[in-house]
Symmetry: C2
């Protein structure tokens, strides 16, 4: 809250009657409304811009050196858990890319820890430098077809509804539940009618899309084609162009962003791993690619900031102008979106700033509640009377899977993988200490010739997902995860080639992001050594168990046909 | 609040699985995002659109007959009192023009009755068919240089802050108070930092504009030139293009509305009398004129609806699309904005609808607390040692006045008007029963050759303002107003030629708007018969006492120099 004394200082400093707290001297301000570029100083008092379009004096000053000044970027939908680091580390990793606000859904940790996970994110959000806002996870568990670590009904969410960091209800991914007017879903939609209702409606079109929107849902980050996005726009839905580590929709959707639409389009990453952030960037990467694809520069920057703020009701930000929150990215190059300086809530983002944050104690350190498994746990009996078995088909960079099939040989150890045909085993091991379920099936497309890869990140219930050529290596990888509190592991011929511990709920590391990045590089190399041909093997493993995304998925309860919305019998 | 059962109906009807409550068959929907026009039905359940871009069945149906469907218009800043009728009559008068939401500031009635006036508007707003939203009057009295009927400090406003019809704080017209960080103003700004802060900053530019905006003020309806509006836009301020009965800024500002700016521009009327509404229209008039001036059609309609909603945080409206409030205007002609049907919150606006509204008892029926005056009350003594007296210069259609002067003859009845030079008397008679003040001076520009015109509408303190050629007619006109509970009167040579009673706080009639319109026509004729050359004599009289608008104004305490912010000595 800005008190009267601070307001008085803001007014006086804006008028130039007293020095501002901070002045960025000599920038080229991009007007996100008109595209005009103006040389100016920017004066800041407390967390607010108080003066532009003129010369100012400050108690502290930064040399803008003619750099471009644009409003800080807003990631409108993401799961911080997918960065594999804590919110504090995410802050340190991503804020320097100019991302001053993120709207996250703690869906992953909530599926493991329930309300404890949401509380952890809210506590973190109160301490980070960037402004982390929360949409409350709407679908925990995502479906009744898997075993999650928690269940959040409307009465579990309501205690968080009035937290100052909470915006509304997060991605309503159970769109069949909406369409069928499921009472538990309706109860959540009803309670949040006057708040933001975030959507998630892949491929939903026509009258069913109307029905989904009739519930008051306003945003979508799941459009994967321009045609789908245009229909959603034409029906009043704001489109969040997603460019994550697996789901990459920017190339397909870029064409929808223009002068007409820029108030109705924003950007998001959804799931982005720290390697990609290190190598390509974050929203800065999306911005430079949209510009490279010919989208009008100031409309791209508008979508990345002001439009995002408006769509989500954040009325205090999205302009480099007096009276607006001092979230600013300074760029060496406008078209390449080369960020060289960031101001977050009036504070220059320097190496010193991270120490000023109060720490938050990690949670969920005992979340791997599965018992160690033996290789025989992965024996898959043939289905008498069926020559072929259904196989999950995986394609690089798609979390959508395909339904394929294969004729597999079997012996007294059950059905055997066929590495020639690129068909190997997949299993999901329940790890929340609830029922010890193990679901088993086959998957195609990883390229693995030997060994196994296991992950305790397994959207959305985050059981252990493991793929492999031998039962022994599958058991070894799974048991390693149980031992280290969750994470990723690559096993081959009785040895662990690489791993990464993610002891916070089996989802996030307690280490700095640079360390995590190093582990990920080793893990990628190890997967490649097994013959893996996918550029993102761990993300693709982790999405094999997501039964809200078509077409064929694996849960701890068995192989699931998303289109039929039922298990494969 | 939309309950779960209604949500279920909305979803099912949107999917086409059950009939909607209402279907408008066969319209041409204008997409305010892209400009595309699509033939479709519109399905509505309760107050919400649930289906477009398809065929629907409804329990009730309206033949759209190929008319254009656009989102209902939003008047972003107005004083309903200036329509001279009650909110209920305003509703009946203006809603058929397609204006489904108005954001009003009950500033006029608040200056007479204080909190009672605000409560009257809130009670009315809960009963009208159109959605009346309230910004709480920030400046009552507008200045310390006049005698108002009430004073509203922050503690008087706070009890209304959480009323569901309240948006934020209304036009902060005391911009010198903001710039000087006046503690009472800061207290109001502080309390509403997280709400909408509406601006009013005529001619404010440069660093002073920065200082004003630094307080968090977001909108302005007082820009009168494109240059001023462009500077305000470039500093993050949304521009509300005003076209009232006196203040007409549309021609000057039209050029600022384009593809780049339409998300940051909205429309308003501020003060519009029922004659103009009858003869020209309301926001429909603004829309057709902007289009005629070459502004892009769908961006004009966007500014009039969706942009207005976004700027003021009304996130439920501004699209003809599923999930959005069913506020729709049906147009016979898109470019001429010829409205032939209106849906307001899902209800077709028909002649029958007005009877469904619960009435609201009038307030302020005893607000004319001045004692009758004698002609001698208007004797104006010469100022010894000055040959010339300062004179308020009036120009048609401007509430800005100019400082002029005249050499006037005097006798034992004081200074004498000079009708040859078009210089006549003006006086303001305090009427709130507080001190009986009478301020006296001279005015030029009305063209009056005889008689007098009096008004109890006198912005913003609403004392009685009277102009006239003879003291006798001035007294007669003033006393008539005291007798009829306030209003307008034209007197000539001992006779009342025309009048209109405005017994609600001396500002609003209890009659239907058609009756009020008839009186206004008679009053205009009567003023013309006195020689008056101004097209809007009553509005111009009523703005003579507004000391927040430059340059020279008249209050009950004397002649006021707005630029010097002090009385003329």
């Amino acid at each position: 809250m800005t008190d009267a004394a601070t307001l008085a200082r803001m007014i006086r400093a804006g008028r130039g009657l007293e020095p501002a707290d901070l002045v960025i001297r000599d920038v080229r301000r991009l007007d996100i409304i008109t595209g005009e570029i103006t040389h100016t100083d920017i004066a800041i008092v407390a967390d607010r811009i108080v003066g532009i379009h003129g010369r100012y004096e400050g108690k502290a000053e930064i040399d803008g050196a003619g750099r471009f000044a644009v409003p800080g970027f807003i990631d409108t939908h993401l799961h911080i858990e997918s960065s594999l680091v804590t919110p504090h580390e995410f802050d340190r990793c991503v804020l320097p890319h100019g991302v001053t606000t993120v709207i996250c859904d703690p869906h992953e940790i909530a599926n493991v820890l329930g309300a404890t996970g949401i509380r952890y994110f809210l506590d973190s959000a109160e301490r980070t430098i960037m402004d982390i806002r929360i949409n409350l996870s709407s679908c925990v568990p995502a479906t009744p077809f898997e075993t999650a670590g928690a269940r959040l009904e409307i009465d579990d969410l309501l205690p968080f509804a009035d937290h100052p960091k909470v915006i509304g209800l997060a991605e309503m991914m159970n769109f069949p539940g909406v369409l069928n007017a499921d009472p538990a879903i309706l109860a959540k939609l009803e309670a949040f009618q006057h708040r933001h209702l975030d959507g998630h409606a892949p491929l939903l079109r026509g009258a069913d899309l109307n029905g989904y929107l009739a519930a008051g849902i306003r945003t979508d980050h799941e459009a994967t084609s321009a045609g789908e996005a245009r229909e959603k726009l034409a029906k009043g839905m704001a489109i969040l162009i997603r460019e994550g580590s697996v789901s990459k929709d920017l190339d397909a959707l870029a064409e929808i962003l223009d002068e007409n639409t820029s108030a109705f389009v924003a950007l998001c990453t959804d799931d982005r791993n720290p390697l990609d952030i290190a190598e390509e960037g974050h929203l800065d990467n999306s911005i430079r690619r949209l510009i490279a694809l010919g989208r009008p520069v100031h409309h791209v920057y508008r979508a990345a900031s002001h439009s995002a703020a408006r769509i989500f009701g954040l009325s205090d930000r999205g302009h480099v102008a007096p009276g607006w929150r001092a979230d600013i990215a300074l760029l060496d190059d406008l078209e390449a979106c080369r960020v060289s300086g960031v101001i977050s809530g009036g504070r220059p983002v320097t190496d010193d700033i991270w120490h000023t944050r109060a720490p938050v104690a990690p949670v969920g350190l005992q979340s791997m509640k599965a018992n160690p498994v033996s290789p025989s746990a992965f024996i898959t009996a043939p289905n008498p009377g069926h020559n072929e078995v259904p196989v999950i088909g995986v394609k690089p960079g798609l979390i959508l899977t395909y339904r394929e099939s294969a004729a597999l040989a079997s012996d007294d150890m059950g059905l055997k993988p066929d590495t020639e045909a690129d068909v190997i085993k997949v299993a999901v091991v329940e790890r929340h200490g609830i029922n010890g379920n193990i679901g088993r099936a086959f998957v195609k497309g990883f390229g693995l010739k030997r060994g196994a890869i296991a992950s305790s990140v397994g959207h959305d219930s985050h059981n252990i997902t493991v793929i492999g050529v031998t039962d022994e290596d599958m058991a070894l990888a799974v048991n390693r995860l149980i031992e280290i509190g969750g994470g990723f592991a690559v096993a081959c011929e009785g040895e662990i080639l690489a791993d990464l511990a993610l002891p916070i709920a089996g989802l996030m590391s307690t280490e700095p992001f640079e360390i995590v990045t190093g582990h990920l590089r080793q893990l990628r190399e190890a997967a490649k050594a097994l013959g893996c041909t996918l550029p993102e093997p761990f993300l693709q493993v982790s999405f094999l168990a997501l039964p809200v995304i078509p077409h064929l998925k694996m849960t701890d309860r068995g192989l699931f046909d998303v289109d039929a919305f039922d298990f494969v019998r």
